[in-house]
C-alpha cells in the first residue's frame, strides 16, 4: 500500500518536473512546478515530516510560486522569445552529462537497500521541530531572519526606478 502511494507520488513529481522545463507557456511551467511540489509534500508526509510538508506547500505554493507568477504576469512574458541558441554546440553535452550525473548518483546508492526503523508519533511534529529550532539551531534561525531582511532590501533596491 505504501509502495503504491510512493510510486504514484514519485511519478507525478518526476513527470511534472519534466513538464516544467518543456512547456512553452511560462505560466504552465509554474503550475506544473506547483504540482510537483504537492507530490513531494505527499512524500514528506510518508516520511513523517508533517511540519515540513505543510511548510513546503505554504512557502512554495503560497509565496515563491506566487512571486514567480506575479513577475511573469507583470513582464508579460509569453512564449519564450527566440534568438540565437548560444548553447547550440553544447546542447548535446548538457544532455549527456545530465544523464551521466544521474547515473553517478544512482550508482552511489545502488545495492544498499536499507529499511527504515520505526519512530514514535512525535517524530517530525511541530513541537519537535520547534525544540530544535529554538534550541540547537537558534543561531542559524536568527541569521536567516537577517538574510531575509537583506533579501527584501536587495529586491527593493534592485527594482527601484530612477537609479
Amino acid at each position: 500500500m505504501e509502495m503504491l502511494v510512493f510510486i504514484v507520488a514519485a511519478v507525478i513529481a518526476l513527470a511534472s518536473a519534466v513538464m516544467v522545463i518543456t512547456v512553452k507557456n511560462p505560466v504552465g511551467s509554474i503550475l506544473y512546478l506547483l504540482l510537483s511540489i504537492m507530490a513531494q509534500s505527499v512524500l514528506y508526509v510518508m516520511l513523517s515530516g508533517l511540519f515540513v510538508a505543510a511548510f513546503l506547500v505554504l512557502i512554495y505554493g503560497g509565496a515563491i510560486l506566487v512571486l514567480f507568477l506575479f513577475v511573469v504576469m507583470m513582464l508579460n512574458i509569453r512564449y519564450a522569445d527566440l534568438g540565437v541558441d548560444t548553447l547550440g554546440r553544447l546542447k548535446p553535452w548538457a544532455w549527456v552529462f545530465g544523464i551521466v550525473l544521474l547515473a553517478e548518483l544512482v550508482w552511489i546508492t545502488m545495492g544498499r537497500m536499507t529499511r527504515f526503523a520505526g519512530v514514535d508519533e512525535t517524530f517530525g511534529s511541530v513541537p519537535e521541530v520547534a525544540r530544535l529550532l529554538y534550541g540547537k539551531f537558534v543561531y542559524p534561525f536568527e541569521l536567516t531572519s537577517i538574510l531575509l531582511l537583506a533579501a527584501i532590501i536587495g529586491a527593493v533596491v534592485m527594482t527601484r526606478k530612477g537609479h
Partner: protein, 640 residues
Amino acid sequence: MFDYLYIVPLLPLLGFVINGIFRTRLSKGVVQTLAVGSVGLSFVFSVILFFKLLGLEPEHRLVEQVLFSWIPVGSLNLDIAFLLDPLSSVMIMVVSCVGFIIHVYSIGYMAHDPGIKRFFIYMNLFMFSMLTLVMSNNLILLFIGWEGVGLCSYLLIAFWFDKKSATDAGNKAFIVNRIGDFGFLLGGFIIFWAAGTFQFTELQHIAPEAFVFGGGLVTAATLLLLFGATGKSAQIPLYIWLPDAMEGPTPVSALIHAATMVTAGVYMLVRLNFLFLMAPTTMLVTAVIGCVTAFVAATIGLAQNDIKRVLAYSTISQLGYMMMACGVAAFTAGIFHLMTHAFFKALLFLGSGSVIHALSAEQDMRRMGGLKKSLPITYKTFLVGTLAITGIPLFSGFFSKDEILWKSFSSGHGHIIFWLVGVITAALTAFYMFRLLYLTFFGEGRYDRQTAEHIHESPKVMTMPLIILAVLSFVGGWVGIPHVLRGGAWFEKFLEPVMAHIPLSGHEVHHSSSLEYALMAITFVLVLVSIYLAYYLYRKNIDKVTSLRQSMEGLYRIILNKYYVDEFYGATIVRPVVNGSIFLWKIIDVFLIDGIANGLARLVGDMSETFRRMQTGYVRAYMTVFVVGAVVVIGFLVVR
C-alpha cells in the same frame, strides 16, 4: 713614525675627495692650494720616511704597515698594506717630488683653462693611485694603483673632451693598457696558484720552493707580467698609445707619461726581480724588447715635427733602456735611470710647454726658431735637460745611462749586441734632441707676425719648477757615481737589499775597469759626433735638410709614419674585432635574441587570443562547463 706610512698616499686622496665634492663651492685658489699642498706634504713625508729608513740597519730596512685585512677568503689573505723599503722609498720621493713640481707648474700653465679645478682633481687622484702602486706590499693592491693610474691617464689625456682627437687618444690609451692588464692579471693568478700569496715579502721567501728555476710556470707568469708592463711602460708591442697621449695638457705629459705612470711597469719588474731572475727566458725577452724598442723609437723620433711627439718617442726609447736594464739583471741601474729620466724628461716636457705657451699653442717645430733670446730661462733649463738626456758627463743622464750600457755588456745576462744597439741609440738620442734644440731655439723665427707679438717668457710659477728640475737633472746623478769613476755608488748600495742574486749559469763574469772606461769613451765619442751632425744640419746648413730628406725619401716616409704600426694594428686587430662586434650585434643580438624575446611575447599573445574565445559571456555555456566539471569530479569519487 713608521705607523704613518699611509699618510703619503692619503694626502693626495684627501685632496681629491675634498676638491671633488666641494668643487663648485671652493674658489680656484683654494682648490689649487689643497691640491698642490697635499702633494707637497706627501713629498715632505716621503723625505722624513727616507731618513727614518736610513736610521735602520741595511738588512732591516723593510717596514710594513697593514691598514686592514681586506679579503680574507680561504687561503687568500689580501690586506691593504704598505711597504717601505729602499726601493719604495726612492720611488715615493721621486714621484712626490716631481709630482709636486709639476703641480706648481700647472698653476701657471692651466691658469686660463676653464676646467682647471677638474684638472687638479684628476691629478690628485693620479698621485694617490701612483703612490699606492709603489707603496703597496702585495701584487693586488699594486694592481689597484695600476688601474687607478690608467684611469687617470684616460681622464687627463681626454681632458679637453670636446676635441675628438683627444677622446680618441684617451680611449686608445685605456684600451691598450687594458690589454696589457689582462696579461698582468693572468700572471698574477699563476703566481698565486703556485705560491699561494700575493705579498711581496712572502713571495720572496716562497719563490725558490714554489717555482722551478727556468720552469714553465715561472716563465709563463713572468712573461704575462711583462706583457702587462709593456702596456703600462709603452714598449713593443703596446707602446702605440703614448704618442697619441700627447693630446693631453703638457703637465699631464710631463707627469704621467714621462716621470711616473710609465715607470710603473719598470717598477713592477724590479719589485718582482726575484721572480724574473728565476726565468732566464723572460729576462732575455725583456732585454730584447727593451733594446729593440729603444732603437726603433729613437729612429721614429728623428723625423717627427711636433715637439711633443719627439719627446714622446724619446720617452719610449728611454723606457726601453730601463727595460733592457731589467732584462740584463741590472735592476738598480734601471731604477737609477728611472729617477734621472724623471727629472730631465719632466724638465723637457715642461720646457716644451713653456715654448708652446709662449707661441700661443704652436707645437710644430717647423714654425719655431730663435727663441733663445725671447725665452732665456726656458732655453737654459731646456739645454740642461738636453745635455742630461744625451748623457754628457757630469749630468745625471750620463751616470745612469752609462751604468745601463755597461751592465748590458758585462752582466751575466748581458750581451754585446745589447750594448751595441744601446750605444747607437744613444747616438740617435743625441741627434734628435739637439735637432729639437736647434729647431726650436736657434736660427730665424719661422712663426707668423701675430704669434711674434705675444711671445713672452713664462711666469715665475712656471719657470721656478724648470729651474729646480734643471738643478736636479744636473746633480741627480751624483748619488750613483760608479766605483770606476771614484764614486761611492751610494745609490746601488742603498738599493742592494731589495735585489735577489740568482746568477744565470753559475759563474759571474768579471770585467776590468779599463774595459769599462773604454766603452764609456766610445759612447761619448759617438754622442759628440751625433751632436756635431745635428749642429751641422740644423744650425748651420738648414737648407741641406730638405735635399737630404729627398734623397732618402722612402726611408723618411717610413720613419715619419711610425713604420705604419698603427695602421698594421688597425687592419689586423681592430678591424676584425669591430667586424666581429658588428656581427654579434646585428645578427646575434638583434636577430636572434630580440627575435626570441619578441617571438615569445608574440606567442603568448597569440595563445591568449585563442583562449580568449572561451570567454563567451554566455551564462549557459559557463554553467554547462561547470556541470561537466562537477560530474567528472563526482565520477572520480565514485570510481574510487
